[in-house]
Amino acid sequence: MKRSVWLLLILALVVAYPLLFATPFLQRLGALVLLYAIAASAWNIVGGYAGQVSVGHVVFFGCGAYASMAFYTHFGWPPIAAVPVGMMASIGIAALIGVPTLRLSGHYFSMATIAVAELARLIVTNIEALGAAVGLSGPVMPRTVFDLSFTSALPYYYLFLAVLLVVLGLTYWMENSRIGFYLRAIKDNERAARSLGVQAGRYKLYAYMISAGLTSVAGALYATMYGFIDPDSGLGILTSVKILIMAALGGAGLLFGPLVGAAILVPLEEISNNVLGGKGAGLTFVVYGAIIMIIARFYPSGLLRLVLDRLAAANSASSDKKVRDAA
């Protein structure tokens, strides 16, 4: 009861945010937070719930982004119309990568995903039809409203919010379904889960494919908003790392963890870029490195988990006190 009231209150704040803070900078910042929250929430399904830390999710992000831009460039589709194409391609690629790599445990899986992502970047850099090293652009002027090319960030904000709610809804459903039950067991102890007859390989692959499909949607939305994609922005390792860190900082394996992480990291990055200008480009890596160390050392299960644990402790302390007062 109390929890749903809180959730509604937060949702109302999120909906009202771009109207309350109606400057272009803050609206754009809000839209970016939601965009990265979509990507990080999608990552969370395989990285958080299934415990398979993919560091190559940019492949799926890039797949969605490139599908949008390529189908616009070659066939004149509105960028957003190619979302199903990007999703199908991502799910297919996930199946291809996942079958051999998900057998690997721990760090080996992470390393394999990095290798695949770097390989994809090199391949795309050499394909003319995908713009090679230069990249692909979207419509310069909106032809119709379906091109989703707006000067204001406001429409993007609400579009991203709607997509994020769908992704979180799916995650919530999964969390409470049979697949979520098995994924938690696999994350906890894969050998034991297998010994009881849980088909670990199959469920990890499902999670990877769902996660890949949703990540590609984030990529398509990114390309639609920026109207441009190149190998660095669409397939660079930094995007993979960003997605992963947001989820880990907020709380991997928690429904709202990635959103919390995005709400902290995106403003941090935007502000540091604004303050430092071009000089700050390399500093982003330093900041991410520092955050990785801090999370690993102090909050391995994320900030949201920390807050929830504190709240739970405070609640039980206050109920203990009530019991004592009553006695």
Binding site: F181, Y182, R184, A185, D188, N189, R191, A192, A193, R194, S195, L196, G197, V198, Q199
Partner: protein, 243 residues
Amino acid sequence: MSNLETSQPLLSISHLEVKYGDLIGVADVSLEVGRGQIIALLGSNGAGKTTTLNAIAGLIPASSGQVEFAGHDITHQPAYAIVSQGLALSPEGWRLFVQQSVENNLMLGATTVADAAKKSDLLDKVYGIFPKLAERRTQQAGTMSGGERQMLAVGRALMSDPQLLLLDEPSLGLAPAIVESMYDTLIGLNKAGLTILLAEQSVELALEISNYAYVLQVGRNAMSGPSAALAKDPNVQKVYLGH
């Protein structure tokens, strides 16, 4: 004809070999487990007991040899297919889902049971065997004592309604009184029809409750015989019982 079938062992392993890359985990192990028996698998640390059990359960692949269960060749079948045929493993060191509740751990044991009514019957049965687990059904598995964890590991394995239970070191790290009550429970389960293959380092206890025993040494069969006879064997007494 039916006489012949019943005389067939429930589990039979011939010349099992398991390799970890170039390392040999089990070189050549053969054994038979008859229906309704308790068979002990003995040997020191590193003799290949755990590897043998894991290979039977389909958790690691056998590089050669054959495993037959209830008349079917299960050598190259995946774990989930083996569990659903009625073979359950309670692994060494319990390997519980420590973050989850007792009841969730048990329900995961019934993964291969499709029928919801049967699942809840099995749950009642396991709570009947281990009333302590019923008291603690909502407790996180990681916060329980060693004895309770061992109960949960065995209870979880029973949730798949097995004909054959493989038990890996059930006495490891437990106080003697707790081990004794666990063994009493095992004897009870066996009397009710469960066949048990028990890997143990506590040779004395294992020989006490088993019908027949196999001793492994560096991944090979070293000795075997009726448990009562092995317990009197001067070699076994010297090496394993410290007499």
